[in-house]
Structures are given as C-alpha cells and as structure tokens.
C-alpha cells in the first residue's frame, strides 16, 4: 500500500510538474495553426468513398514505352536500381500537356554502357498521345538516362529540358518548331559525374533559370565490388554505403543561354548521395531555397541569402534526419501543406523500415518529423518509396500523398521487389491508405520509380504518369469524377523568371486560405506540371487570389468568378492587379 502510495505520488509529481510548466509557459509556445479553416473531408464522405479511382490508360491512349535498365546482362550494378523519370510540359504551346519519358540504357557482357532513347509524347487534345521523339530529334542513345527536368532556360517561351544519367547530361533546347537540339556542352554544362535529379529555378535573382544537378555515387565497372545476396553465391546489387558520394553541382545562367559552374560560389557541400531535388521558397523570404533528398546520408536544406549563396542548414532546421536522428535512404521529395496552415511542409519518401518523412513547418524556421503522428510511419514502413506527389487527388480540398514504390535489390528479405503503389488520403488528423479496386493499378505491385502529375485532359482533376523498371509506363487517369469547382493557375513571369519558380499563390476562400507554390524539381527524377491546382468543395467560395511573384510583386485578383484554367502574367508594375492572359471556364 505504501509502495502504491509512493508510486501514485511519483506519477502525480510528473503530471503536476508538467502541467504547471505547460500552463505557465503556454503563452510562449507556438500558436496552434488554424487547421480548421477549411473543413477537412474524411475519406468516408462522398468525395472519397469511391477510393482510389485511377485507371491506367497508357496503352489505349497511345503511350507504350518501357524504361529498361540493362539488368539482363546480370552485372548487378547499382546503376540498374535507379530507374527513370517522367515530365509533363506543353512543349508545343498548344495548350495541352505533353509527356517526356527517359529511356534508361543497356549494359553489355563486356561491361560497356549505352543509352536508350527518351520518348516524347505529344498530347492530342486530351484524347490520346502521339510519339514524336524522332521528328523532335531527341532519339539519342548517348546517355544511360535517369531524370528529366523542364525549364525555359533561354526565356523564349518554349520549354526546354535536361536529361540526367550516367555520363554527360543532355540539355535539349526547344527550337519552337517541334524540334530540339542538344547543347549541354556548348552551353557550359560539361559534367560527366553520375547525375540523378535536377531542378530549374532562378537561384541568384537575376531573372534567368539556373540549374541544380544532384549527383549520386562513384560507382563504375572499375569500382564494382561483389555484394552478397541472401544466399551464398547470389550476387546482389551493392548498397549505396559501398560507394563514395559525388559532389553536387549548380550552374548559374549567364543570361545569354550559357551557364557557368557556380558550385563553389553557391557554397555547396562536397558530399551527399543525391536522388531528389526540390527548389522552392521554404522560409519564405522571396528567394528560392534548395532541398536535396540524399540516399543514406543527411538530406540538405540550402537556405538562400538572396544572391545565390547558400548556407546548408538541414540539421539545425530539423529536416536532415529522421525522428531517430538517423539519415535515411531518401529518394523522392515534394512540397506540401497537408495541414493547410499556409506554411510549406517537406515530404520525403524513404527506404524500407524507415518512415516516409513529413517534416511539418513549425513556422519559426524549424521543422518537426511528424510521420508517426500522422499515421505515415505505420503505413509506409515496408515500402521503398520513390516518385511522389502531394496533391489534392480526390478534389476534396486537402492534399493527399501518392507514392510509387519498388525495391532496389534483387533479393530483398523484408519486402518484395515489386510493391504496391500508395495513395494516402488525409482526414484532418491522419493519413489513411485509400482502398483500391481489385485488379486496378493500385492493387497490383510494380517496380515504380519516377512519378509526375498533370491534368493532361483538362477535366479539372490530376492525372499521373509513372515510370517503372522494365515494365511499361503507366498513365493513371483520374476517375474520381468529383464535380467540385476547380482552379488551375499557370503563372508566367516577366520581371521574375518566366517559369515563375518560387512564386506563391494564396487562394482566399470562404473557408480559409489555400497556398500553393511553383517549384523546381520535385518527386524523383521527374517533373510535374507547373500549374497550381486548387479544388474547392461545393460549399466553399473563392474570394481572392494573391500571387507573390519572386521579383517581389504582389498581385491580387478577384477570384469569385474564377474557375477552370487560368494563366496569369506577372505585372510589370508592382501592385498591378491586371495580367489575365487566358481563362478557360469549365
């Protein structure tokens, strides 16, 4: 009895002391975000009751393409585990989003490495796609390719793209006539290090797009040790810990279509095994910061001083490691505002037995790993996550998470090589896995890699392209058929960079404010459409749309009558509210 008394007393001491401190200091703690501004829709409601309604229509829409990795040569190289990317962009400026897919490459018995051509699919008015790689002139096999990053680096209004891979990356300049020419070396991007993800953004504030290029590890056939599989004698792909990291690169535009390597000037670290890159205004202070998802080493957060010099602050800001203090095998990344507090959160996909990471922005420069609280740790512990997107897929007003999964080694012991993709829906408290229809894409395992989103058919909801290893590309057509009001905003910079990377849009509605940002890079080896997408539940009325342009202008527009696709051009004079270019009503 006495023992019990002391135990109760001991507990009471804990509780009372904690409560007193909490009560005394509550004023000093961060205010709780107004999470209730827009009612969160539970997955049980009508909008999401139909769950994961995506149908893979790639083949029927004319896209039959497979990324190949050369695994048939049986060398078990780490190169084979990387996979490829996908990118959406309106290359021909016909108003419909086209798709580019990287092709990978082949390895031969005598250890030579060659590339497979990337594919460009022209969107035929939302009803199908036509392969135009040959006529576009991009059928190069010079590069064993991985990623693709879109950017109008020469500010001519025609979107160009960079392809990364094992060797010299390819910079394809859009000639505006349906053709492209490769100009990487002549443009000053001479770099033979193994590159993965890349992103375009104006990093030094001169109005031109600069390039961040993530590099991986120092693998080569000359540095290709034997790594044991599960059973004796089985050779498996070596883990990234076997190799040394390669330093990443940043190229600053000189304004004339040429670039210079500014990695030292920018203050980049010399390490990191980069796989995912996200360029956006994290703080947000008007300049573009860089977040890099590294494989088995700490993730980087480079904070921009406004002039293109960076301070790496991942650890001090709480976004470098997981909640155990350990660096993860990070792959994909996206900007998110899952709790609709207007502060950009960072979402990262990781290796199995590590949680996918949601770093919640605490609003004071600090981020907190909240995956466990959100139910993500629980859901994602057995997946190896790659391409990802934080978007409102079910058009219920809050953002969901989609992840393409698949293992990287030949003989995994915990989870299989082919893994189910995930769609996680947010119910206001936690993310829940959306059930999938039997036989649907989400019900079948894949070796997923790159993932990019776009409303390719302009029907107001987001569709998804996913690249796989040695398996045909998937085009997941969104069939939630939620007839809510929607708004898809495309921004065109004038004083800012033309792609408006770093611009922030705030849609003020009757139920609060929704914030989106134009980002560079994102996902894994891939690039989603630059349009900022808002879905508004029936009872929610939009009031105004405020655009914070990277060059400093703030543009406010009456949004009460806006819907469908809207293109906004940055006003030349600060404070102007004009700038409509086009509005496509639904």
């Amino acid at each position: 009895m006495i023992r019990l008394f002391f135990r109760v007393k001991k507990l009471a001491a804990w509780v009372v002391a904690a409560s007193m401190i909490a009560a005394g200091c509550r004023q000093q703690s961060s205010p709780i975000a107004p999470a209730a501004v827009v009612p969160h829709h539970s997955p049980d409601n009508a909008a999401t009751a139909n769950a994961c309604l995506f149908t893979d229509r790639a083949a029927s829409l004319g896209m039959e393409f497979t990324y190949v990795n050369g695994s048939e040569a049986n060398h078990c190289t780490i190169l084979e585990s990387m996979g490829g990317g996908v990118a959406w962009s309106d290359f021909d400026r016909d108003g419909w989003l086209d798709l580019i897919v990287t092709g990978g490459g082949k390895l031969t018995a005598d250890k030579s490495i060659s590339g497979c051509a990337s594919a460009l699919y022209r969107n035929l008015g939302g009803h199908g796609f036509s392969a135009v790689s040959r006529s576009a002139g991009i059928e190069s096999t010079a590069l064993y390719s991985h990623g693709v990053a879109i950017g109008d680096f020469d500010n001519d209004g025609f979107l160009d793209f960079l392809v990364t891979g094992y060797g010299q990356p390819q910079l394809w300049q859009n000639m505006g006539d349906g053709t492209f020419r490769e100009i990487a070396r002549s443009a000053g991007i001479a770099n033979s290090l193994w590159s993965t993800s890349a992103g375009w953004a104006d990093l030094n504030g001169d109005g031109n797009l600069d390039l961040y290029l993530a590099h991986y590890v120092n693998w080569s056939f000359q540095n290709h040790p034997f790594c044991q599989g599960t059973d004796a004698g089985d050779r498996d792909i070596c883990p990234p810990q076997t190799f040394e990291p390669l330093p990443h690169s940043v190229y600053y535009s000189q304004g004339d279509g040429a670039f210079r390597d500014s990695s030292s000037f920018a203050g980049l670290r010399a390490d990191g095994k980069g796989l995912g890159v996200l360029l956006c205004d994290i703080e947000p202070d008007g300049d573009v910061d860089i977040y890099v998802a590294n494989d088995t080493t700490e993730n980087f957060l480079y904070l921009n001083d406004g002039e293109g010099r960076f301070e790496e602050s991942g650890v001090s800001r709480g976004v470098a490691v997981d909640d155990n203090g350990l660096p993860n095998g990070s792959m994909g990344v996206d900007l998110c505002d899952f709790n609709r507090d207007g502060k950009p959160d960072i979402w990262v996909t990781n290796y199995e037995r590590e949680s996918f990471a949601m770093y919640r922005n605490e609003g004071n420069g600090q981020f907190l790993h909240v995956s466990q609280r959100l139910g993500i740790t629980n859901l994602a512990g057995l997946f190896v996550g790659f391409g990802t997107a934080c978007e409102d897929f079910d058009s219920d007003g809050d953002q969901d998470l989609m992840i393409a999964n698949g293992h990287v080694i030949k003989f995994p012991s915990i989870s299989p090589r082919r893994q189910l993709p995930l769609l996680l829906q947010y119910d206001g408290q936690r993310f829940e896995r959306a059930p999938s229809a039997s036989g649907s894409y989400f019900d079948e395992p894949h070796e997923g890699r790159g993932l990019a989103t776009a409303d390719y058919d302009s029907d107001g909801d987001l569709d998804v392209a996913i690249s796989h290893l040695n398996e045909p590309l998937a085009l997941l057509v969104n069939e939630f058929h939620v007839h809510n009001r929607w708004l898809s905003v495309v921004l065109i910079g004038t004083r800012s960079n033309r792609d408006a990377v770093g611009a922030r849009a705030e849609l003020k509605t009757s139920a609060g404010t929704l914030v989106r940002q134009v980002t560079g890079g994102g996902s894994y080896l891939s690039h989603s459409s630059r349009a900022l997408n808002f879905a508004l539940p029936d009872q929610v009325q939009p009031h105004s749309l405020v655009i914070h342009w990277p060059a400093g202008a703030v543009q406010k527009i009456d949004a009460s009558s806006l819907s469908g696709q809207v293109t906004l051009i940055e006003p030349v004079a600060t404070g102007s509210s004009s700038g409509f270019s086009r509005q496509v009503p639904r």
Partner: protein, 448 residues
C-alpha cells in the same frame, strides 16, 4: 506450581512424575526434536529439488527466485551454492555465478560438476573458441541429458557473445535436432536472426517457441517488438497485451503497447499507458523511453514547454539516446534556445555516428569473426557510450584472438580502472606497454 487443566502444558497427573514415565516422556520429546530437525532438512531438500527441476526445465528465473527465498541456514550448503551458480550462469550473471561456484567447491560439492559449470561459464562469456574442443569431447563422450543441454546452451551463448554466427547456427541446429520440443534452441536462433537482421526468420522462431510454450513471456515480447518494427500493429498490440495479462507490471510490454497505440493514432491511450509505466520501478533507460515518448507527443501537439520538461528528464536519465537529444533540440529551437539546441544536436550526431559505426563493425564481425581490430573497435565504442561490461566483453574477445592486441589491452585497463580493480588494470596496461601497436587492418576512412 499447580497447572490448570486448561493450560496447554497440562499433563495428566497419573503420568507425572514417575521414573518410567519420565523416560518415556524424554524419548517422546527427543523424537519430536529429531523429527523437527529432519523435517527442516527435508524441507530444504525439497526446495532445492524444486530449484533443480526449474533449472532442468530452463526456468532459471524461477530457480533464482526460489533460491533467494531459502533461509540463511539453507544458503550455507554446498548444494545451494552449486545450484545458485548454475542458475546465475544460465541467467547470464557471470559475476554471481562465479562466486557461487567457488563457494560450492569450497563447501565440498562434486569437483567435476563444479568444473563443468566453470567451463560453461567461460565458454558463454566469449572464450568459446578456446573451449569448444573440450565441450565437444564431453558431448561425444556421453553426458546426461541435463548436462548435454547445458553444454549446447553455453556453446550457443558463447558463439553468440563472440559473434561467431555460423558456428552458433550449427550448434543450435544440432541442439534443435536433438531436442525438437525444447523451446530454447528456437529462442536462441531467433536472437541470432535478430542480430543479423533476418526478422522474418526470427519471427518464425519465436512463433515456434510459442507453439511449444504458448505463455512464453520472452518469446511473446520479442515477437511483439518485431511485429511493431514491421508496423504490424494489431498483432503487436495483441502480443503486448498478452504479456501484460500475465504480468501487468511488464514495463517493456507497457512501453510497446503505448508505442502501438501512438502509431494507431490513439494518443490518449498511449499516454495513459506511459503514465502507467512511469508508476513502475523502471530502469533509467525505460523511464527515459517513456518520458521521451511523452515529450515527443507534447512537441507534436505544439506544447513546447511540456515537451522540454519531459525530454530534459529523459536525456538526464539516459544520455545515450540520440532520438531524445534530437527531439529536445527541436523543442529548444522552437522556443529560440538555439545554443542548447545545438548542443543536443551535436550530442545526437555523435551518438548516431557511433551507432552507425557500431552497426557497420558488428556486421563485419559476423563475416570476419577472427578480426581482433573490429572487436576492439566495437568494445571501445561501447565503452565510450558508458556501456562498460558490454564493451569489456568485446575487448576480451579481441584479446582472446590476439593476446597482444595493444588497443584492446589499453581499453581493458581503462575498464578495470573505472570499475575499481587497479591490479587488473595494471596488468593490462603492462601488456599494452610491452607490445607496440601493429598496423591497423582497417581502411583509413573507417578508423573513426
């Protein structure tokens, strides 16, 4: 003095005080005294037999509990010390085992049996490679089943302790083949699979244990922890609950169930369980874990002051937990205490670096069991983290492989200095001084 008839000392008057009757009475009293003495001995014999039975069935915890309940007189017997030596050896408490076996020998217990126990103690302490021949000979020569089981168990423990994974698996296979219904080989195999991160295989072994002994607490707990690691929360929670049904004060089960509830989004239930756990007499490590979880929950709820309170307590109790340092750093940075936040970040980083290095080293030891440098490095890392006995065990194993290993001897000298055994410390320091350091076999970038 006349006695009342109702007195408990009343004796019929006719029996008192004639001479013959006095003799009879004395015989009766003597018999009673003899019976009392014999019954004490019989009771002692009965208790020790029960201890022996518990030990034979592998339940050394019960054996130790019974031994500790024996009265002082009983504790002075050779048999008691012998049984205590066996029980403590099997429970892994080498120091007490050694003391009791020495006392058993001193009190005259069978010398051969004591020697076998001492041999097993050395083997399971890590000297297995130098003793495995002797133990195998004993098995081949034919020993009784109990001794054979103890030999297998010690060999397996020895191989595990010294990270001779392949040998351990072989030993456990022989043992399991010989005694298919004995849960212990499965339990050890599960432990081994966990060490080499074969979780599925480990879970299968624990399930085998539970098939043989459905209420086996350790197997239930370990299986629950593995299921939790794999995010199989429903199953993990069920197993933790089963552990708590058997022992409501099982702290590990309480903490495990709290973790399950937190991950299931049942934060209130989780916190209630953590408070329940804090009512128990927890080890500092477990109390720190409970407080860290409460701190994490408070931080996620943006209650920074409460978070800092719990996390500072947690870090004070267990400064080796990197996660607590890191969470505390986040909380401190949130309230603007950047200097303290940085201090805890640095501590967390140092600990995670050590952990990463330790994992890498122990993985390499699994494939290079005779690499004394690796063993020494593992030992020094553990010593640095304040885990002295575990560190010393690795250092001793390094010295067994390379008796002149300078760094290991220096580490052992430090160990004995820190535990207050200056003679031993001096001995190792002398050996370390006599032999200059050989060139390390570790790559330069891995010598951290």
């Amino acid at each position: 003095m006349a006695l009342d008839r109702r007195s408990w000392l009343w004796i019929p008057g006719r029996l008192w005080p004639s001479g013959r009757r006095a003799i009879l009475l004395a015989i009766l009293a003597g018999s009673l005294i003899l019976l009392a003495c014999l019954s004490g001995r019989m009771w002692h014999w009965y208790r020790l037999s029960a201890v022996d039975r518990a030990l034979r069935s592998g339940d050394w915890q019960s054996a130790i509990a019974m031994l500790e309940r024996t009265d002082q007189r009983g504790q002075n017997s050779a048999q008691w010390h012998y049984l205590a030596g066996r029980a403590y050896r099997r429970s892994g408490n080498a120091v007490l085992a050694e003391q009791h076996l020495a006392r058993a020998a001193e009190y005259g217990w069978n010398g051969e049996e004591v020697r076998l126990q001492q041999l097993l103690l050395q083997a399971q302490g890590g000297q297995i490679k130098s003793l495995e021949g002797q133990l195998a000979e004993r098995l081949q020569a034919g020993v009784d089943d109990t001794s054979a089981e103890e030999i297998y168990e010690s060999m397996a423990r020895g191989y595990l302790a010294s990270y001779h994974i392949a040998d351990a698996l072989k030993c456990l296979k022989f043992w399991g083949d010989w005694q298919p219904n004995n849960p212990l080989p499965h339990l050890w195999r599960a432990d081994l699979y966990q060490r080499i991160e074969k979780r599925e295989a480990a879970m299968e072994e624990y399930e085998q244990v539970l098939a043989l002994r459905p209420r086996h607490a350790e197997a239930s707990l370990k299986l629950a922890q593995l299921r939790l690691e794999l995010s199989d929360l429903t199953s993990a929670a069920g197993l933790f609950q089963a552990c708590l049904d058997q022992d409501s004060e099982n702290a590990e089960a309480l903490l495990g169930l709290a973790e399950c509830r937190a991950r299931q989004g049942l934060g209130d239930q989780s916190q209630a369980l953590l408070y329940d756990a804090l009512l128990l007499d927890l080890t500092p490590g477990k109390a720190a874990a409970a407080l860290a979880r409460l701190g994490q929950a408070a931080l996620e709820e943006r209650d920074d002051a409460r978070a800092i309170y719990f996390l500072e307590k947690s870090v004070a109790l267990d400064p080796r937990e990197a996660k607590s340092h890191l969470t505390l750093a986040s909380a401190l940075a949130t309230v603007g205490d950047d200097q303290e936040a940085q201090r805890h970040r640095n501590a967390a980083r140092e600990l995670t670096d050590q952990h990463t290095r330790l994992v890498s080293v122990t993985r390499r030891i699994a494939t290079e069991p005779n690499n004394a440098d690796l063993r020494c490095e593992a030992g020094l890392i553990l010593m640095k983290q304040g885990l002295l006995p575990a560190g010393a065990a690795w250092l001793k194993s390094a010295v067994q492989i390379d008796p002149n290993h300078q760094a290991a001897h220096r580490g052992l000298a430090e160990f004995y200095t820190r535990i207050g055994q200056p003679d031993q410390a001096r001995r190792h320091q002398q050996i370390a001084g006599q032999h200059p350091a050989p060139p390390s076999t570790l790559p330069v970038d891995e010598q951290g």
